[in-house]
Subunit: 232 residues, 2 copies
């Protein structure tokens, strides 16, 4: 996979296509960098949308709020990903929130500037459209899983997906510190159930856990759990 000088994946990183770093000085007036601490909120549901964000480094979660202490994590984002694009639509109000999972640097681009760029840069617009299309496919796959899969199966798929997205570090752990609470929110279940299911996966010798680090031992087994109840 080709990487550019920012360390982003050239195939998916729209930021690089927009080429914010190297563009005309004119763009400087329309972008700002923000540094976020772990746990810091970038934007919140019902906030007005004023721009769009590109993640330079770090990791974030995008989540949808639900009754004080419940949420659904809709997506994780890492360096090279866009955040805040869900705000683009008929109403300029975020339907989701975004929170940093670790120290994160984002590049903010004014919406009006971004939009006028899209009007001019057909290729970028095309890429953005394709990006939405893929997101939509993902979203609907997840929706079906939520509707028809057991919690254990959902956790299994979630772990596989996370490993695929974030890769593993030198210890073989999934390259993302994920609290049980976040795992629960991502799979649409409660803290306790997520905990119990993780224990089952450990007993099944499918994964190994030390603290917040998760290592997938038996990819096969996880995959089998994902396929359960699923006959083509």
């Amino acid at each position: 996979m080709k990487k550019d000088k920012h360390g982003c994946d050239l195939n998916t990183c729209l930021m690089c296509r927009l080429c914010l770093k190297d563009w005309l000085p004119a763009i400087e007036a329309h972008r700002t960098n923000y540094v976020l601490n772990k746990g810091q909120l970038l934007f919140s549901e019902h906030d007005a949308v004023t721009g769009i964000y590109f993640i330079y480094s770090g990791k974030m979660k995008v989540h949808k709020h639900w009754s004080k202490d419940k949420e659904l994590i809709v997506r994780f984002a890492k360096s090279g990903d866009i955040v805040g694009h869900r705000g683009i639509g008929t109403e300029l109000v975020y339907p989701v929130s975004a929170t940093a999972l670790e120290p994160t640097t984002v590049c903010y681009v004014e919406l009006s500037f971004f939009k006028s760029t899209l009007k001019v840069n057909n290729e970028l617009l095309y890429e953005l459209m394709m990006f939405y299309a893929r997101e939509l496919q993902e979203s609907e796959k997840k929706m079906r899983n939520l509707a028809h899969m057991s919690v254990k199966g959902r956790i299994a798929t979630a772990l596989s997906m996370l490993q695929e997205k974030f890769g593993t570090n030198k210890e073989g752990h999934i390259n993302l510190q994920l609290s049980r609470q976040d795992l629960a929110s991502y799979t649409g279940t409660t803290y306790e159930t997520a905990f119990r299911m993780m224990n089952e996966l450990i007993n099944d010798n499918a994964v190994e856990v030390s603290g917040k680090n998760i290592r997938i031992i038996n990819q096969e087994k996880l995959h089998k759990l994902s396929q359960e109840h699923m006959e083509e």
Copy 2:
């Protein structure tokens, strides 16, 4: 709401923006009309994507398959809507199926032609991007509901949404003949549960049912059920 001569809503109907009916004769070579009977499949999951469809008249369901007799209805579509756009992405394989719910006429446009149109017609591309953005927002709202809402609440929201989308006919019925099976698939539950919940809604004096026709009596009550367990 402004309607064009095809009877489509000018704000949402991409077909009209593309102006298939009135365009250069050249386009004729790249489009075909198909007429579908009730229950007829337009395309199926895992089929290769060769084009995109615009609905002239009729209604369809877009659904995602799951183990022989289970499915999740992802979306309903009516005249003026696009179908098959979910196939656009990295892989040219449909992630969903589309089935006519009543006699339906669709207009098929070759993918290569559609894509090259997008490359040229920036405005159309922009609209398409916005359309995806809205679809994504919808999808994620539905996802959260699926995760955190009771079946009764989901059915209540589903009925409200269907009335909003399809409107009512002169008898005040929702303008869509929906089988219980489809209602169940749309709300991610089983036939029997959907049936029971509908009965509860009838006892609550929220809706009235005669055959496959549904009339919403108490919009307030449905809305309240949708909001249950939901505190901002």
